[in-house]
Amino acid sequence: MTALLDHLETARSAGRKLLVPYLVAGIPDVAGFPRALETVAAVADAVEVGLPYSDPLMDGPVIASASERAIRSGVGPLSALELASTATTTCPRIAMTYYNPIHRVGEPEFCRVAAAAGFTGIIVPDIPVEESASLRSAAAEHDLAWVPLVAPTSSAERVKSIAATATGFIYAVSTLGVTGARTSLSERAAPVVAACRAASDLPVLVGIGVSTPEQAREASVSADGVVVGSAVVRHVLERGAEAAAEWLASVRTALDA
């Protein structure tokens, strides 16, 4: 069992819903990021760290522009790993990156650097299960948990083969579309979670478009927890990490209610 899964299972077996916020590495700025990561980690079960990328095609305006801003300040996908390693926290960190930076430095080398920087898992939104075998085995070698995404358009057959690769949790994409706030939780979230459940015993977290405490609560009725991205990034950029953590605490309260 990966360290990440072990950590999540401990929380899950205590009846706790999992809260995984997402931050883009390098926000609000280079110097402030490690502290922002620590602050958010204090109210999280794990933190997803987005490595800035030039062509983030799964991301909506909030995360895409945060990513562009981080790159302009000199934070690239590799230097982001190092920057994240300077944060002091025991909360597991998961790297979210598009595939090209991994391809560029080489799959084993990327996994080695990520593990050395203290990461415990990776999420790669643009590599389908058919293409990910060698990356998954490189990740396993460095005890990096693999967190695959399942979409509302995934057939039952695909859900089965995707779920079989998960070694951290399963990321259930709640809606068709890019990251960003939505006014309500998509009615497609519950069926995706159900499909993941039917295929695996691993924790299932709902992400993409979860942007209010109410939506988090609603999603976690069937799921084991939520990933919250754009809403957290927006809070950090507009009001700072402390305010983001306060807001996350309200999500926590909703999950515990």
């Binding site: 299960v129 358009t153 890019v178």
Partner: protein, 391 residues
């Protein structure tokens, strides 16, 4: 049987190609692949498409002997006149085929990216013909420099959405079109404009453009009694080049030459992904891309919006790797000069994209008969050329 230059079942041309996309798109790509295989095997699809190519596009386009230009080039230069295709470029061969396929698949809406605006105009035209709503994503930089085509798309009933992100050019327009597609994948077909993107797009687009090479080969026989010594085409994503090259792929005596954008020079900003790129994954496929050591995609540059792209279709990366085709490049300045020379010697204003292919021919390094893909006409570029020549 699979022709040797078609991709394998996973969409690979050698080590290039494949499918690197979000899970949300996998079902749509599977569906598209199946629909394409079915259409190819269905004679009625072929007949319908041929009729569209005859009556909408005006095919076949002529093969034209450029006699006075030949004197300047020191070789016998034949031009495959895709500039005379309806809407003014080769792009329409692809869009009619894809929108016909989309209509057969029951899709209710089409989207496209565009660089020079030619693919956007061609998609808007096909969408109007089939009565489907059409949204075209276009980098804000390109909206400025290809204004004529923006107006044309709007007059054809399409909605043009300027994209401000990144370099605000073709690469970013593709990102935005992919974002739209992820959100609307169930009722929308994404009409990709070149031999790029995830499998099966590179194969679909190349197959639909092969009409250029097949016609050119037969016309060359008729005109000269034989084959050309060299076939030359500009390469942005590489669709006009792939279509032309496929007509001559098996003719081993024919040299295939792709010409990329050298922009301000190969040591400055450019779009020469094969000449200067490294293996990478961009827009859903593994190919050669311009990128830094961490895998961040570079901002390309070319005076021609259609070649201003930091990637290239996997088929070309593979043709380069196997040595079957050779890739050269031409600068902005050389392309402008070639643009002017073709106008003065032949009375033809080429688009700035194929002006790069002409610039290579003007170097006088070619001998015998050279068949050049004149992929589009230059009306859209008149303002750019005028201000460049003034400056």
């Amino acid at each position: 049987m699979r022709p040797e230059n078609a991709p394998d079942h996973a969409g690979r041309f050698g080590e290039f190609g494949g499918r690197f996309v979000p899970e949300a798109l996998m079902r749509a790509l599977d569906e598209l692949e199946r629909a394409w295989e079915k259409a190819r095997a269905d004679a009625s699809f072929g007949h319908e498409l041929d009729a569209l190519l005859d009556t909408v596009v005006g095919r076949p386009t002529p093969l034209y002997e450029a006699k006075r230009f030949s004197e300047r080039a020191g070789a016998r230069v034949l031009l495959k006149r895709e500039d005379l295709a309806h809407t003014g470029a080769h792009k329409i061969n692809n869009t009619l085929g894809q929108v016909l396929l989309a209509a057969r698949m029951g899709k209710k809406r089409v989207i496209a990216e565009t660089g020079a605006g030619q693919h956007g105009v061609a998609t808007a035209t096909a969408a109007a013909y089939f009565g489907l709503p059409c949204v075209v994503y276009m980098g804000a930089t390109d909206v400025g420099r290809q204004h004529l085509n923006v107006v044309r798309m709007e007059l054809l009933g399409a909605q043009v959405v300027p994209v401000e992100a990144g370099s605000a050019t073709l690469k970013d327009a593709i990102n935005e079109a992919l974002r739209d597609w992820v959100a609307n994948v169930e009722d929308t077909h994404y009409v990709i404009g070149s031999v790029v993107g995830p499998h099966p797009y590179p194969e679909i687009v190349a197959a639909l453009q092969t009409v250029i090479g097949n016609e050119a080969r037969a016309q060359c026989h008729e005109l000269t009694g034989g084959l050309p010594d060299e076939v030359v085409a500009c390469v942005g994503g590489g669709s006009n080049a792939a279509g032309l090259f496929r007509g001559f792929y098996r003719d081993e005596s024919v040299a295939l030459v792709g010409v990329e954008a050298a922009g301000e020079g190969l040591n400055g900003r450019h779009g020469a992904s094969i000449t200067k790129g490294t293996p990478g994954v961009l827009h859903g496929a593994r190919s050669l891309v311009l990128q830094d050591d961490e895998g961040l995609i570079a901002h390309a540059h070319s005076i021609s919006a259609g070649l201003d792209y930091p990637g290239v279709g996997p088929e070309h990366a593979w043709l380069a790797a196997t040595g079957r085709a050779r890739y050269e490049s031409a600068t902005d300045e050389e392309a402008l000069e070639a643009f002017r020379i073709l106008g003065e010697t032949e009375g033809i204003l080429p688009a700035l994209e194929p002006a790069h292919a002409l610039a290579y021919v003007l170097r006088g390094k070619t001998e015998g008969t050279v068949l050049v893909g004149l992929s589009g006409r230059g009306d859209k570029d008149v303002a750019t050329v005028a201000s460049a020549l003034d400056g």
